[in-house]
Subunit: 197 residues, 4 copies
Amino acid sequence: MSKNRMEAFSDGVLAIIITIMVLELKRPREGEFAALRPMLPALSSYILSFVYVGIYWNNHHHLLHATKRVSGGVLWANLHLLFWLSLFPVSTAWIGETRGMPAPTAAYGFVLLMAAIAYYVLQNVIIANQGSSSALREALGADWKGKLSPVIYLAAIAISFAYPWISIALYTGAALMWVIPDRRIERFLREHGTAEP
Amino acid sequence: MSKNRMEAFSDGVLAIIITIMVLELKRPREGEFAALRPMLPALSSYILSFVYVGIYWNNHHHLLHATKRVSGGVLWANLHLLFWLSLFPVSTAWIGETRGMPAPTAAYGFVLLMAAIAYYVLQNVIIANQGSSSALREALGADWKGKLSPVIYLAAIAISFAYPWISIALYTGAALMWVIPDRRIERFLREHGTAEP
Amino acid sequence: MSKNRMEAFSDGVLAIIITIMVLELKRPREGEFAALRPMLPALSSYILSFVYVGIYWNNHHHLLHATKRVSGGVLWANLHLLFWLSLFPVSTAWIGETRGMPAPTAAYGFVLLMAAIAYYVLQNVIIANQGSSSALREALGADWKGKLSPVIYLAAIAISFAYPWISIALYTGAALMWVIPDRRIERFLREHGTAEP
Amino acid sequence: MSKNRMEAFSDGVLAIIITIMVLELKRPREGEFAALRPMLPALSSYILSFVYVGIYWNNHHHLLHATKRVSGGVLWANLHLLFWLSLFPVSTAWIGETRGMPAPTAAYGFVLLMAAIAYYVLQNVIIANQGSSSALREALGADWKGKLSPVIYLAAIAISFAYPWISIALYTGAALMWVIPDRRIERFLREHGTAEP
């Protein structure tokens, strides 16, 4: 099945995106614990982006699990998503190095926003591909997290020009929103016998 | 089946090629929006090359989907293609840094040309491997895109010595040619029940 | 089965972690054999970390082999493990560059400790997921290596403030403990018809 | 089957090894064709090492194709091979930068030699694992290429102290020996219905 190969390629790209982010974690030059302190901003932006890549990998995993047919349109929508995710490392490095400044904070949110839109497009291309009685569409339900996230990113971008730290808190909150209640939804969906987005 | 492993290895290499290109997108040093401007040439050459890698991945995906047997010749023809694709990052970085100059523009076209030839060779090795009544050969049909592309690259290389920007427009046009009408061909082929190259 | 994709993603990340470590092995600048000598500390810390990644890959391989169902909790526990493993390259580079100093030696042990804990958590999430009569739990048996390792790492961290070289010997010993008696356990488990952790 | 995962991990590592080598191909700083000339030594050592990785990937592919069971010993023998292959990038970069000098030429041969030995060990661990009537052992036949290669590498290492260019010619010749007659052996083996090493 060709779906497998699209998964494999996506896994490869996602695995590498995480890698490039970790390359920004330069080792301290001195052998003292104090030399770890300047790493902290880069480390915390790495953690946040690692969680985001994890969320995307998890959701992508579930999304394709519920996908039966893969068309050329799906392949391109997937590449489009991977493109925006491939900009995570550079935006993570920028915000990690210049934390607290408006421009990198807004740019980080912009990449998050575009990735969320690309994911939404991919989801809809897959649903359109499956016909109107799509099991995936039912499984998605209201998809409130998918709809709320872009709003949060947009708000955080606007706020970043005045209070970048609030924006960073919003990015963190949006990530937690995806991580925490996952299990509840999963249980709900398991009872209804469908894969979860 | 050994075909799977050739796909997996190719996916890995293609995923990594994209990565190395993204490594050229160095984060801005300052935390101002103005610091993003110098990134634009590198970003746009990254986008163009990302689309090309996407096209090759898509076509490779379809090509192997229609492949049944893998021989030693196919493995080497595939490695030959991956070799030329592995030169994308360095040629992308060169054109991204020195945009508008003849030498990097011609070199970029040369790598595109050699990759197109390598793809053509791979395609024919697979067809030869499958015998004369190859389903792949029928599916390919006239393969006008596969034949037109090298001509465009050759023309662009020649033009680059005088008008590099026209060459860049030609590279972009050739990429769009592959991306846009994909769906139509796919539908056509689906009706005839064969995988698409 | 979705387990396959979790394996594929983990393989990708582990393969890349090894890579980033090898990037620290900078080629000598001069063409003399004497130029190899400064590489030796980096090379030996690379070898130690390569063996550790190999151990994790091996154990992860066996662990998932004995896993039937994958839940959202398992996916996140796996990502948590990959996060700590992704810090191997930077801690390896630090200890390789400043060998014999307390801080990098303790930090190296800290990353080993957290990875061991993350592995333990992953193991237990999988067992909890499988229900009380888990074949995996039986296969694990007393799991003395899994329980002894964190103790060794903790001791090595404490010792590193006074005698970093003893800590490095302990890290090496713990790695050998995992590598050497593998075959015996495997044979034992094969006779009892279960996969081995 | 656990064999699949060992293949996937090996593919990932081999794909990444190729990548790291390509990272040494730094883009020219100026936009002139003349700026390509200093790249030539690095490019030609890249090509040679790319071919070697291709040979190893091809042989590894065939070897595992003929493998049925994977034990802990096989996993470690495979990791041992990957370790030596992971030193290709640094030895390639060294010889590419200082071509014509004895030390990097000998070091390049040493890494080739150790990889050949590691491959030989892996092959024998697999055969031992399969029992005395191993189909793989029959398929290997005299395995003259596997036996001749280490001799060539040893000779080249010795010669490199006096005539490094002869050693480089020997490395190239040994690579060609593996690439060229592949098809003939394959045909021979296909007639006898066994996978080929």
